[in-house]
């Protein structure tokens, strides 16, 4: 409760400082709108449904792309953790592509898929899959070898060992990998929505983009705030509690982020 109060106070001060900066008149109100205008925009856009609709469109894309990225990345990460050959090949590839900012996939996606949902999905998957591979690989390599040894003496081999020992043992690390994948998917999708203009769905990124074209800075900043809040909520409500629970029970005291 205390921590929540401190956080709320901090944000209140931040918004207060912003309002003061606007009132000082040093910057044009068009470039730096007052937080009150931004608040009014967000409230209005929620009421008339544009924000809700765009959030829904964006989250649907995110979910599909993220799910695909995780489904491809988890098994690949587990595989690279088991073999030196795959680590030196697929692992190196993943590391290389992970350093590539996901917006760099947009030109390629546009040429290959055109202005389609497919292009959007491609960028999200490319943004997600490599970081999931690396996090999973790292996690599986950190499993205490004693688990595998104990399992072997009890007669657990092959498929049984993988599903009953290696996979559950690496669960805390898999969740960390999925959390990181989520952050990357979110970034990639915003890049994709800003650069891939399509008519099949009007997402948050598009809203941001058109805010700029209309010179409506309260819309640009308002949408940015919504994007941040969604990212924060998903982390705090979905991933962090799960991660904390697993690390506690598994006794793996990895520092929380």
């Amino acid at each position: 409760m205390r921590r929540l109060a401190v956080a709320l106070l901090f944000f209140a001060v931040l918004i207060g400082a912003w309002e003061l900066a606007v009132r000082s008149g040093r910057w044009s109100a068009v470039l730096l709108p007052s937080p009150i205008f931004v608040g009014e925009y967000i409230w209005g856009a929620i009421l008339d449904g544009t924000l809700v609709e765009s959030t829904w469109v964006t989250l649907k894309r995110l979910l599909v792309g993220y799910a695909a990225g995780v489904l491809i990345g988890l098994p690949l990460g587990l595989l690279t953790s088991t073999s030196q050959f795959l680590e030196d090949t697929v692992g190196a590839l993943a590391l290389g592509f992970q350093t590539l900012p996901s917006v760099c996939w947009v030109p390629l996606a546009l040429v290959w898929f055109g202005q389609t949902e497919g292009a959007m999905l491609f960028v999200v998957i490319m943004g997600t899959v490599w970081s999931v591979i690396i996090a999973t690989d790292h996690g599986a390599r950190n499993i205490p070898p004693i688990f595998a040894r104990a399992a072997r003496t009890m007669g657990s081999e092959g498929f049984h060992k993988w599903t009953r020992v290696i996979l559950p043992a690496s669960l805390p690390f898999l969740v960390s990998g999925m959390k990181q994948g989520w952050a990357f998917a979110w970034r990639s999708l915003m890049a994709a929505e800003i650069y891939v203009t399509i008519l099949t769905g009007f997402g948050l990124g598009h809203l941001l983009h058109y805010g700029r074209e209309l010179n409506a800075m309260e819309q640009v900043i308002g949408v940015m705030i919504v994007i941040v809040v969604i990212g924060l909520l998903v982390d705090r409500l979905l991933f962090s509690p799960w991660e904390r629970f697993l690390h506690l029970r598994w006794g793996t005291n990895v520092k929380e982020t």
Binding site: I146, A150, M154, G155, R249
Partner: protein, 268 residues
């Protein structure tokens, strides 16, 4: 007391025979010999302690008996068959907790039982409950691993290793990380359980008193390369109290021999 490396002092048929086992490790260019021509025979129902300073190869020897490590020379024969890999008949209880944290105490004991196709599910549950009861943890069957103390964890590990009914129980310094009071309690428990079940046990330790308290026979090993230096019979009646004076006199003699073996001199 005898001093020869290969001993089969019992008239009972050997449960486990270690024949001329040697093992080399190659960390960073130089070759280290961990075990040099080690032979040992263990009778059915015998409690043998492998005692020695760190680096004498006692844990490596246990791994080889378990089938987790392959010997470079020699072989291990269990129940007349050469050991080729790990098997349910020789279960290991490890130094640190090797319990699976994603399962509760009951689930951990069930893990090995579920790998026995000859049992029905009802039998598995009955056996798991029985062994949790035996180690005094019936009340904690649904506790998760992180909720258990160090001593309780090793009790669950003991139940897990005993439940699938292995012929040989291999224990690799299972109490080394526990505090003295918890350990004393576990010495009583392990003796009681051993007298009831009459399992063949090979117990690795570097603690002389622990070895004298538990073992029928103590196999003293010397390092670089790992060899059997001396074998001691401990004819003390059971259950033994680790703080008793008789035990202390045995322990001091063996401790003296241990010092000798560390310096590379084996004296009677």
């Amino acid at each position: 007391m005898e001093g020869s490396p290969a001993v089969s002092s019992e008239t009972r048929p050997p449960k486990l025979v270690i024949e001329g086992v040697s093992k080399w490790f190659t960390p960073k260019r130089n070759i280290v010999q961990a075990l040099d021509n080690v032979s040992l025979s263990v009778a059915k129902g015998e409690f043998v302690c492998l005692l020695g300073p760190s680096g004498c190869g006692k844990s490596t020897l246990l791994d080889i008996v378990a089938g987790l490590t392959k010997p470079d020379e020699g072989r291990v024969i269990a129940d007349g068959k050469v050991v080729e890999g790990p098997g349910r008949q020789r279960l290991v209880m490890f130094q640190e907790s090797a319990l699976f944290p994603w399962l509760d105490a009951f689930g951990n004991v069930m893990f090995g039982l579920k790998l026995r196709p000859d049992l029905t599910n009802a039998e598995r549950r009955r056996i798991a409950n029985e062994y949790l009861d035996l180690v005094g943890l019936a009340k904690f069957k649904h506790a998760h691993v992180h909720e258990l103390s160090g001593g309780m964890k090793q009790r669950v590990a003991l139940a897990r290793a005993l439940a699938p009914d292995p012929h040989v129980l291999l224990m690799d310094e299972p109490f080394a990380a526990l505090d003295a009071m918890t350990r004393d309690q576990l010495y009583d428990d392990i003796q009681r359980i051993w007298m009831e079940s009459r399992k063949t046990i090979i117990f690795v330790t570097h603690n002389v008193r622990e070895a004298v308290c538990l073992g029928d026979r103590i196999v003293l090993m010397s390092p670089s390369p790992g060899r059997i230096a001396q074998v001691f019979e401990i004819p003390l009646p059971r259950p033994r109290d680790i703080n008793s004076p008789e035990l202390a006199s045995y322990a001091s003699r063996i401790a003296a021999a241990l010092k000798g073996s560390k310096n590379g001199v084996v004296s009677e």
